[in-house]
């Protein structure tokens, strides 16, 4: 489709609405946050305009470095696990009848309506010693006595994967539905077993979709701050937890803002790196 390039100011009017929305809901708050991150904190909860970089200097410590590393590692793990589960699942889902697909998608959408708090407490019950799933294992004779599976890293990971999985499936679904079903059939006629064809034809053919989904889940998981607190120990707390803690309980807005800005920059850098690596591989292929 060819269009005339815009000539007058009036030609740009369709852009006005999205531009205003973007400014009000993104540019203004984010700029405010950047500004606040350089302000000086007042004892007693407030801050005064200033230009200090102490707030950034403060987390150049081993403690914050460790938390940042853990947060990124957790988000990456959640992203990888989610895609690893959701991709084959969604692929198989697209092979079922329309009716089955609709039922599954409706169920997944209803999981999305659960808040992080509900998911957190539901899993904390499921992982508890008194009422948890280990009781079922004991009843089945697989375990001698019930155990508490939380707090712990496994519990945090499970909760976050559970929370992100429906998003992952819903993002992958359109791409997989549109995929030419004869690709796998062709691989099969060429001597590949269905599993082999899936791994070396379907997965690489959708590499861009997979990378985009990984990034989405990664960013989504990075923002999770309730589940690590409900299901984990303090050493499983992510940077998001610390930001909330600083902003709300310690009333240290400038420091919270500085951490938030830093987190955004780091995640942007990681996303950029992923795209760069992906793009380079594309170019050589």
């Amino acid at each position: 489709m060819r269009r005339e390039p815009p000539r007058t100011i009036a030609d740009y009017t369709p852009l006005a609405f999205p531009a205003i929305m973007l400014i009000i809901f993104f540019v203004v708050p984010f700029s405010t946050m950047i500004a606040v991150s350089f302000f000086r904190r007042q004892q007693g909860g407030f801050y005064t305009p200033d230009f200090v970089i102490d707030n950034y200097g403060r987390f150049l410590s081993a403690f914050f470095g460790g938390v940042l590393g853990f947060s990124l590692m957790l988000a990456i793990m959640v992203a990888v696990i989610c895609v690893a589960i959701a991709f084959p699942f969604t692929y198989l889902l697209t092979k079922t009848s329309r009716r089955v697909q609709i039922v599954w998608l409706v169920c997944l959408l209803s999981v999305l309506s659960l808040s992080e708090v509900i998911i957190g407490f539901a899993w904390s019950t499921l992982f508890s010693r008194t009422a948890g799933i280990t009781n079922l294992l004991v009843a089945a004779g697989l375990m001698s006595e019930p155990q508490a599976l939380l707090p712990g890293f496994g519990a945090v990971l499970t909760g976050m994967v559970y929370q992100a999985l429906p998003y992952t499936i819903l993002v992958l679904y359109p791409a997989l539905v549109r995929l030419d079903p004869t690709l796998l059939e062709a691989a099969r006629t060429l001597g590949a077993s269905p599993l082999r064809g899936f791994i070396n034809i379907i997965v690489p053919a959708l590499r861009n979709t997979i990378v985009a989904t990984l990034i989405m889940v990664f960013v989504f998981a990075l923002g999770s701050y309730l589940l690590p607190q409900i299901l984990g120990r303090p050493r499983h707390w992510t940077l998001s937890v610390l930001i909330t803690d600083q902003a709300i309980y310690q009333s240290n807005m400038p420091f919270a803002a500085a951490m938030a800005v830093f987190l955004v920059l780091i995640s942007l850098a990681l996303v950029g790196l992923t795209l760069l690596v992906g793009g380079r591989r594309e170019a050589t292929a």
């Binding site: 062709a186 099969r188 060429l190 590949a192 082999r196 053919a205 292929a285």
Partner: protein, 345 residues
């Protein structure tokens, strides 16, 4: 016996029978065209042979070996899909090498075979191109080369040429036929273009509503169609209702066709006669008298529409063998008995 044998093969989708009791023997090295109108079950039949669809009944034998329970990837066949199904993330060379890679052929062997196959389909030096940068005809050739990479026992193609323009299609038909003869591989092509089938096939299988209507050589299908469906589907034809008189002579349009009689016990039926077999005589001295209603001069051939007793008969002639016949003139129409095929109604 060596070759492919389909034994009473059926496929039902719920209550709907897509392929109905197909029985067919294809000798080794034969080029078969499956021909039929849309929705008659051609693709379903091909997919059953490939193992992509499980038969509801019947068996598929290849060189006397029962293939029915063998999964697709162990059947060693080459298939070209209507969508071609080239792997979008791989280059031309990688696409063709994919089946070799699966068999564990080493890199050198792969490269040599790819070169060989690309030469075979007249695309030498294309190995490093991405498939997205190819034209329709080139993609076609890559799909063919990929399907042939493992020297399959059976070569299956589902409407391989339907996406190409008319000129390229005709060229590819000839090319495909020559390729098949060179390799001597048993080949089954699905098409709904009867010209394509006539050009390429040793054996034409005409299907209608899931059943085989006739399986024979192209010329036999054309000259001796088994029923009205086949006669009508293959080329254009004049179909006339006939009745037997007491002596068994064939009566049509109120008058006998000279020298033609219906088989014993057949009271009525249809006569099929090809337009190029109908003779016209300028002065009305033929067996039938009719009036020319329309003349279509195509340069190389002339189609003349003659109305005889309310029925239109089409005659095709070359300009040389035909006198000056214009719309509105009275002509004599001769239907030579040796060109008439009597069909059951």
């Amino acid at each position: 016996m060596s070759g492919l044998h389909l034994k009473d093969l059926s496929k039902r989708f719920g209550n709907f029978t897509a392929v109905d009791d197909v029985d067919l023997t294809v000798p080794h090295g034969t080029f078969v065209c499956i021909l039929g109108p849309s929705g008659c079950g051609k693709t379903t039949l091909l997919r059953m042979i490939a193992g992509l669809e499980e038969p509801s009944a019947g068996a598929i034998l290849l060189d006397d070996e029962d293939m029915t329970p063998v999964p697709t990837h162990k059947r060693n066949l080459g298939m070209v899909f209507q969508s071609l199904a080239l792997f979008p993330h791989l280059t031309v060379g990688e696409n063709i090498a994919y089946p070799l890679r699966i068999r564990g052929v080493d890199k050198n062997g792969q490269r040599k075979r790819v070169e060989e196959l690309l030469a075979l389909v007249h695309l030498p030096g294309y190995a490093a191109r991405p498939v997205s940068k190819l034209s329709g005809g080139q993609r076609q050739r890559v799909a063919i080369a990929r399907a042939l990479a493992l020297s399959p026992r059976l070569f299956l193609l589902d409407e391989p040429l339907s996406a190409l323009d008319a000129k390229l299609r005709e060229a590819m038909q000839v090319e495909l036929r020559q390729l098949q003869q060179k390799l001597g591989i048993t080949t089954i092509v699905v098409t709904h273009d009867q010209r394509e089938a006539m050009t390429m096939a040793d054996l034409v299988v005409v299907m209608g509503e899931g059943r085989i209507r006739q399986a024979a050589s192209p010329i036999e299908i054309y000259r001796k169609p088994a029923d009205a469906f086949v006669a009508d589907f293959i080329g254009s034809t004049n179909l006339l209702e006939v009745k037997a008189d007491r002596a068994g002579r064939a009566i049509t349009l109120g008058q006998p066709i000279a020298g033609l009689s219906l088989p014993k016990g057949m009271a009525s039926g249809l006569v099929s006669i090809r337009p190029e077999d109908v003779h016209l005589a300028g002065s009305a001295n033929g067996a039938f008298r009719g009036k020319v209603t329309f003349v279509r001069d195509l340069g190389g051939t002339i189609e003349t529409f003659v109305e005889v007793g309310g029925t239109t008969i089409v005659a095709v002639t070359t300009p040389r063998e035909r006198g000056d016949i214009e719309a509105g003139t009275e002509v004599g129409v001769t239907l030579p008995a040796e060109s008439c095929v009597v069909l059951k109604q």
